[in-house]
């Protein structure tokens, strides 16, 4: 069966629910589609179900009911290891392997995929440059890097095997304001070049407006609304309006594609 690659959503949630074994419902009746090349931001406070939604895509969690499709194929029927290797995954705590050098961290998926050493080496150099790190960083260990450098390595590692989909769970959340700003800017220019399909989790409206092509607002395990950044600011939805108010003035200039 050839998955429908050219058309249709890259990721699709159909009536998805996720309930913990103790009965607590983290996600209910989620219907959402992510289109090729867009950056869909999942916005909401902690416990709203954003991370749960993200983990359902690469099957770190499996839906209690409903279907998640990636490239048209239900994830439940696909090989979980293959699925994960075809999706880049970046998390807030980065999770670099402390006993591996930067080079081995970035080259891990290519290595277990059996790429020849020389090709891995070239790919690592290319990726380091892509995320704005110097070549010499390749031989460093994670504990020798700053927080910003670590997250750059995290992004490079996720891009290593050139996945078409990138899942990012508050990747810049733990960084200081200046570093975050810089990485956001670089993310945008990188995204312009690479055109990945990105699902990006954040609780920061400013970040959502800046990076997202659409913003999916979540609350208490439910999807409230999905809007482009420009419309989000003018939304009459009470929760969206509350967000806009909480983040205060000057948001208009933050909105990414709504403004330009």
């Amino acid at each position: 069966m050839e998955p429908n690659l050219a058309k249709g959503p890259v990721i699709e949630f159909c009536n998805v629910a996720y309930t913990l074994p103790n009965g607590q419902q983290l996600l209910s009746r989620l219907n959402l589609q992510v289109q090729r090349g867009e950056t869909l931001v999942l916005l909401g406070r902690s416990g709203s179900g954003k991370t749960t939604t993200l983990k359902l895509v690469n099957r770190l969690l499996n839906p209690t009911s409903g279907v998640v499709r990636v490239n048209g194929a239900p994830t439940a029927e696909s090989d979980v290891i293959r699925l994960r290797r075809s999706i880049g995954y970046v998390i807030q705590d980065v999770g670099l392997f402390p006993h591996f050098t930067v080079e081995r961290n970035i080259g891990l998926v290519p290595r277990i995929e059996g790429w020849p050493t020389e090709r891995i080496h070239r790919r690592v150099e290319e990726l380091l440059q892509m995320v704005g790190l110097e070549k010499q960083m390749a031989s460093r260990y994670p504990h020798q890097l700053s927080g910003g450098q670590r997250q750059r390595v995290g992004v490079a590692r996720a891009l290593a095997a050139d996945p078409a989909i990138l899942l990012m769970d508050e990747p810049f959340g733990a960084l200081d304001a200046l570093t975050r700003d810089q990485l956001q800017r670089e993310f945008l220019s990188l995204q312009q070049r690479l055109g990945k399909t990105v699902v990006f989790v954040t609780h920061d409206l400013r970040e959502a407006l800046r990076l997202g092509s659409r913003i999916a607002l979540m609350d208490a395990g439910r999807l409230v609304t999905v809007l482009p950044p420009g419309d989000f600011l003018r939304s009459s939805d009470p929760l969206a309006a509350a967000y806009v108010q909480a983040f205060g003035d000057g948001l208009d200039s933050a909105a990414n594609r709504g403004a330009s």
């Binding site: 690469n58 770190l60 290891i81 293959r82 699925l83 994960r84 290797r85 995954y89 998390i91 705590d93 980065v94 999770g95 670099l96 392997f97 402390p98 006993h99 891990l108 998926v109 277990i112 260990y141 504990h143 995290g154 590692r157 996720a158 899942l167």
Partner: protein, 210 residues
Amino acid sequence: MNLFHFLLQNHEQVLELTLEHLWLVGISTLLAVLIGIPLGILSAHWPVLNKPVLGTANIIQTIPSLALFGFLLPVPWLGDRADRLAILALTLYALLPVIRNTYTGIRGVDPAVVEAGRGMGLTSRQLLFQVELPLALSVILSGVRVAVVVSVGLATIAAAIGAGGLGEFIFRGLAMVNNQLILAGAIPAAVMALTADFGLGWLEKRLRPR
């Protein structure tokens, strides 16, 4: 006649008993590692197993060593040869620190690292051998170190059932009220324990992840 004199004069027997002692400790530690590390891994990954496995190892630890040697004596095949019996008993005692430290070491790996590994598509086996075990190695090794040091001491008691080792000198010395003989067994055993402790401690430090 001082102790030094005695050791020199009986150097052949000292060497023989020391080697016997090393053999008892070495084989039992090896067995404990081969059994304990897999058990520790299993209980770290399946929390259901944790209590029964660690509980059993704990209970074994509370049996007085002399009693355990006695209990095992009538067991067929095992009781035929004293060194078999001693090795089994020493292995059982060495299990607890090995299992417990393997469990602790693996559970202690940063959850973010494990999640990143799983999310990237590592298989359970790749995650275990490339991430969890290397990161837990120094903790596991410190368990082995405890096991070895305890075994060196415990193995002296194995002489009570005729398994040989440096305990021979000690028991003989006790029977003859000869302090020199006791020391001739106790000092090499202490040196052995300290050497193992130091060597494994050094290795453990070198393997500790930053």
